[in-house]
Structure formats: C-alpha cells, structure tokens
C-alpha cells in the first residue's frame, strides 16, 4: 500500500479518499450509537458536558451530514468528475487542497465543538469556521465550473452533472445558514431550506452521481436514455429544496410556501419514475453478469425509492399534523444518508482493485458487513416511521399530552408508546457501528494484503 502525501493526479487523490471514507463513517456511527444510548439510558449513564444527549445529537448531525457527506463528495469528485469530462483536471494542486479543505473544515467543526462545548453557541454560524467553509466550497464551485467549461467530451456525463448540482446547492445551504434571524418564522425558513439544499439535494445528488457511474461502467452497460437522466436531474434539482417546508404545516410560516411545498413534494414522483426506469433498463443491458462490489447498489436504490415515496406520502394534508415536527422528518434524512453510504461503500470496493491494484477477497467478512448495513438501514427507516407516527398521534390525541403536568403523565403516555422504538434505534445503531468497523477492517485488509491485480490507468491529457 503506497499513498503519496501530495498526489499528482486524480487516481492518487482518489486512493486517499477511499481510505478516509471508512474512517469518517466509523466516527459518525460511533457518535450516533453514543447519542442513541444516551437517549434511551439517560437515567442510567453518567451525564457530563460531553456525554449527554443534547451535545451528542449536535455532534452526530455534524459527523453524518458534514463529515461523511464531505468525504463522499470528495471521493466522487476526485474519481468521477474528470472521468465524466474526459480530461484530467485543470489546476489539480488547487483541487487537491480544496478537497482536503472540505473534509478538513467539516472535521474541524466537530473538533471545535468537542473541545469548546461551552462556547459552541458563540462558535456557531457567525463564526470564522463557517466563513472558512464558505470559502472552501466556493473554491470547489469555481474549480468545478472551470473544469466543466473546458470539458473534452461532447456531452457531460450524468455523474458530473449531479456532482456539480450538489456543490452549487451545498454552497447555497452555507449562505442560508448564516442568515440573520429577526422573526420566529425565520428559523423555520432557514431550517427547511438548509435541509432542502444541503441534505435533500446535496446528499441525494452525490448518491445519484455514484449510481449513474456504477450502473454503467462496471457492468459495461449503456445508459438507457439521456433524456430520462436529464428529467431526474432537473426534476430533483427544482423540487427537492422546496419539500421540507410542509413539515411546519400550521406554524408561523407563510401559508403559500407550505402549500407549494405540499404540491411539489407530490411531484417528486416524476423524477423518481424517470430514475427508476433508467436504472432498470440500463441494468438490463449489462454485459457483465455479476460484480460483487455492487452488492449494495440495488439495495440502495430500493432504500432511496422508499424514502422518496415516504416523502410524497407525508405530503397529504391529513397526515401532516401527525407527521410534522416528529421523528418522521428524520426518516427522510436517514434514508438519503443510508443510500449515500451504501452507494459509496460499493464505489470504494469497486475502486480498490482499480486504484491499489489489490483484489478484494469477498469472504464472510464482506458478506456480514453488507448484510449488517442493509438490514440496519432498512430497520432504521421502518422503526423511525413507527416512532414518528406514534409520537405524533399521541401528542395530538388528547389535552395535556404535549405539556408537562404535575405527575408528568402526559409524556408518560407518549413514552410508553415510543420507548421501545428508541431502544430498537440504539440496537440498530450498534449493528451499524459493528458493520462500520468490519467495513474498515475489510478495506484495510484488501489494500494491504489482497492479491495483486492490474491497476487502472487514467490516460487523459489536457491537450
């Protein structure tokens, strides 16, 4: 295993991110497990300034939606972007520094919160850190624009389109999060649009970029229809940012934006169908029968589809009072992040032989890892849907349930319904943590002692 400190090309840079991704995932899954454990066993475990649910929840959000997202973005950008444009990247040393900056600032965000938790609020969105993030992501936006403008391929392959969309909306989300809060509705606007741009568009588009690559090149299949891929791209790009407002139905947000959100969420069926038809027809044209590295790909598409269907179903007006501002809102995030993680794991297994020249021995270790991830993300989706529906129903079922009373019987009723779901969440996050650990072991084993194979050569030039 040989990794250069200063990579000279996209291939060497991708090698670095193939190793960084499992590390970031393991960190995120560890924090997630601790968070769930501290929610379920808050009375039993000793609380301090770090180990308490509130702090761990904030750290979990930063790790999953900041660090893991950043690592996936960098891996897909370093490997897929130049491939999609048919040339090596212009200003490669700056691209390298910028991508390191993306992962670096997200990691720094976690460190700052961890070591200066008492000042976390002061170090929040108006801090130097967020300005640094904006600078780095703006740099990435500029570099990706430049590379697109000097492309060599006649058409822009779907992966590059999705990566570019993700970068642009990631940048927009950082501007939104810095907005000044003047009236109460501002916080709902900021939260909704931040979720819509960063999580829904950002995470979903990096996922799409990876899927559009994995369903063609490794399987030697031809993209079924470019128009369908364009409908998927523009449909999701236009609709997804608007879809979170609906969960604040009945709050102080302007009514028109809640209604638009409801209708646009239902319209997600168009890009979803376009994507599914394109995916199924493309997979049917494959020439390679079985690619073990893509074991998780089909499952990730199922997970993504279920998530989007939940997104549409939750738009019905009679369901919104029950589902809004409950844990159900997190189901969409879990589904999208889960799909991204599964697709990135597939990509990393595909890349190890290509980049490191080492075969992955698909043994029982990998089978257990794949099974662990699949079952955990599916259960996470089902369990949190039940949790959201039950808590929303019980909060709305009768007077006083939503407010603390003398004997606390209100929350007692709710907890008797949802307590088991939180315990299951803790168990699922433990399985995920175990799978994340096995995944890291598997990657390290493959790159260090896998049998030797031919390394892929990228032979692009800028001439």
């Amino acid at each position: 295993m040989k990794i250069k400190l200063f990579p000279k090309n996209e291939q060497e840079l991708s090698k670095l991110f193939v190793l960084i991704f499992p590390l970031t995932l393991l960190l995120s899954l560890t924090i997630s497990f601790l968070k769930n454990a501290y929610f379920t066993f808050a009375n039993l475990l000793p609380n301090n300034s770090v180990f308490n649910y509130g702090f761990l929840d904030r750290l979990d959000t930063q790790a999953a939606l900041g660090l893991v997202f950043g690592a996936s973005l960098c891996l897909s950008f370093s490997y897929l972007f130049s491939k999609s444009l048919g040339r090596s990247m212009v200003l490669f040393p700056i691209v390298f520094l910028t991508l390191l900056g993306v992962v670096g600032t997200e990691f720094l965000d976690i460190l700052v919160n961890f070591f200066f938790q008492n000042s976390a609020y002061d170090l929040g969105n108006s801090s130097l850190l967020i300005l640094l993030k904006i600078l780095v992501v703006f740099g990435l936006f500029g570099l990706s624009t430049l590379n697109l403008l000097v492309k060599k391929e006649a058409s822009i392959f779907a992966s590059a389109q999705f990566i570019y969309g993700a970068v642009v909306f990631y940048l927009i989300s950082l501007f939104i999060v810095r907005a000044e809060l003047n009236v109460f509705s501002d916080i709902f606007l900021v939260n909704s649009l931040y979720t819509g741009t960063h999580i829904y568009v950002g995470v979903a588009f990096i996922y799409m970029a990876i899927v559009h690559f994995l369903m063609t090149r490794p399987l030697k299949a031809v993209l079924f229809n470019k128009t369908l891929s364009s409908i998927t791209f523009w449909g999701f790009l236009f609709l997804l940012p608007w879809t979170n407002f609906k969960y604040y139905y009945g709050s102080v947000l302007p009514n028109w934006i809640e209604n638009i959100s409801i209708y646009l969420s239902m319209s997600l069926v168009v890009p979803l169908l376009a994507f599914l038809v394109n995916y199924i027809k493309t997979i049917q044209s494959k020439e390679v029968e079985e690619v073990r590295s893509l074991n998780l790909l089909n499952f990730s598409v199922v997970l993504f589809s279920i998530t989007t269907i939940f997104h549409m179903i939750s738009s019905f007006e009679n369901l919104l009072p029950i589902l809004g501002i409950t844990n159900f809102v997190n189901v969409i995030t879990y589904g999208l992040v889960g799909s991204l993680v599964l697709a990135t794991i597939s990509l990393s297994y595909y890349l190890i032989p290509k980049l490191y020249g080492r075969e992955v021995a698909y043994s029982r270790l990998e089978d257990i890892t794949f099974f662990g991830f699949k079952i955990s993300y599916l259960l996470l989706l089902i369990n949190n849907t039940l949790l959201g529906v039950n808590s929303g129903y019980s909060w709305n079922a009768g007077a006083n349930t939503g407010s603390p009373t003398i004997y606390g019987e209100g929350f007692g009723i709710v907890w008797s319904l949802i307590g088991i779901n939180f315990s299951v969440n803790t168990f699922i996050s433990l399985v995920l943590l175990g799978s994340g650990f096995l995944y890291l072991i598997s990657v390290l084993r493959a790159v260090s002692s896998g049998s030797i194979t031919t390394v892929e050569e990228m032979v692009y030039s800028n001439e």
Binding site: Y121, W234, N396
Partner: protein, 266 residues
C-alpha cells in the same frame, strides 16, 4: 421449361427449377426479360443495371436477400450478380445510420448547463428564502404587539438552553392545528432576540415548552432546580439528562429562562 434454361442449368451444374426462379427474380429486379438473363448466364452479355424498370412494384431488400441465399446454392457466378442488387439496395439504410450518429454526437454546451443550474439555485434562493423572509418581516412590522422583550438574564439562560441543545427534543411551537392547540397558546410571529428564535425547535420528542411557566410543576424554580440537577429523583421511568455538571450561574440563568416561557410565546 425452355431449352435455354436447361442449357444454363447444365452449364451452372444446378437444378433447373432453381435456375428458372433465380432468372425470374433477376429479370424482375433489372427490368429485363427472363431470356435476356438466361442468355447472359449462358455466356452472352451481362444484364445492364440501368435498364428501364419493370412495371411491377419495386422488389424489397428482403426479397433480394432471399434470392441471394438461393443463388448461393447455385453457383459463384450467380452470387456475383445478386451482390449487385444488394449494393444497389443498401445506400438508403446506410444514410439512416449516419444520421443517427450525428444526433448522438451533438455537443452539449457546458455554459448552458452551468447557467441552468445557477438559475435554479438563484430561483430557489429568491423564492423559497428571500421573498418569504421579507414578507414575514413586513407583516410582523405592520402588526401591533410585535416584539418579545427579554432581560439579559433570560437571554443568557436561552444561550445555555441552546448550548445544551434542549431544542433537539423540546419545541416551543404550538401550531394552528386543532389537536395541537390543546398544548397551549399558538406561537405568534414576532420580532425577538436571535437566541430566543433559535430555541423554537424542530422535533418534538419531549413535551412542548411554549407555556411551561404557566403550568405546575414547571412554574416552580425549586422543582426545576431539582429536576434539572437530578431528573431520576422526580421520575425514573422517563429518560431525561441530568445537568448536574452545569455551574450554579448557568443553572440559575437556565431556570430564569424556563420561567419566562409562557410570556414570550404568548
């Protein structure tokens, strides 16, 4: 069967009926008589390709190909002749293929793609953020009793609340939905300190705290001190973190803030 056919069959060493059918096909395609074809196969002049067309409808490519397969069996000489038909029939198909390739290689402009993405981004930012934000601010400006005043202790308490991330479980957002209004007074849009706005929360796992200061026991500072320092001393069954690690000042600020809830959100 004429003598000419028999002669040609003998020359070509092929069955008579096959030679007859091949000659008829060739004659139809070339617009000449069967005898002329047979003559040419028997050693006469070759059949001119530009001969005037036969009055019948044109022979399709498939028919010619079928004849080729028959003539393959007959003899090499016949094969050469039929190849001419194929060559004549092919150009139309070839042109179609070239047109398809041109469509596939159509250049996709990076500039228009980039402009499209940026336009959608700008549209989203304007219509989903800037316009509703300004609209809400204008409406609140025009209304009476439009701001929440809070003392510096309350603001400090709100900051402790935000640092502990209490808003990850507790909302202060009673919606205008009938079942929700039973939880307290509906949140009205008002100007407020940024920290107070930030504490409204997104997910309701624990009880809503909008009017916690107007209810028992959460309107009691001693009860709050006991509950926040050691939640198990009040109720062991419900999971709530104990904030015994907070210093006295921060705990006091937090309680001051919690006791203000109900006024600010009214």
């Amino acid at each position: 069967m004429s003598d000419l056919v028999n002669k040609v069959a003998e020359i070509l060493n092929a069955p008579v009926d096959l030679v007859q059918r091949s000659a008829e096909a060739r004659a139809t395609a070339s617009g000449v008589s069967v005898d002329d074809v047979l003559n040419s196969w028997a050693g006469g002049e070759s059949v001119a390709a530009s001969a005037s067309p036969a009055p019948k409808k044109e022979v399709s490519v498939e028919e010619v190909v079928e004849e080729v397969s028959v003539e393959e069996v007959v003899e090499e000489t016949v094969e050469e002749r039929t190849e001419e038909f194929i060559k004549e029939a092919e150009p139309q198909e070839f042109i179609e293929e070239v047109v398809e390739e041109i469509v596939e290689l159509k250049n996709e402009s990076a500039l228009s793609f980039i402009s499209g993405v940026l336009l959608v981004g700008l549209f989203t930012f304007l219509f989903a953020f800037v316009i509703p934000k300004n609209q809400a601010t204008d409406i609140v400006s025009d209304s009476l009793n439009n701001s929440v005043s809070a003392s510096s202790e309350v603001i400090k308490g709100a900051e402790v609340y935000a640092e502990l991330n209490c808003q990850s479980c507790h909302t202060q957002n009673v919606r205008t939905l009938i079942p929700d209004t039973q939880n307290g007074k509906v949140l009205k849009n008002k100007f407020a300190n940024e920290t107070l706005i930030n504490n409204v929360g997104n997910i309701r796992l624990g009880p809503d705290l909008s009017t916690s200061a107007t209810r028992e026991p959460t309107n009691n500072s001693q009860w709050l001190t006991r509950y926040l320092s050691d939640s198990t001393s009040v109720n062991r069954d419900i999971p709530h973190p104990s904030y015994d690690f907070l210093d006295d000042d921060d705990l006091e600020y937090l309680i001051t803030y919690l006791l203000s809830l109900g006024e600010s959100n009214e």
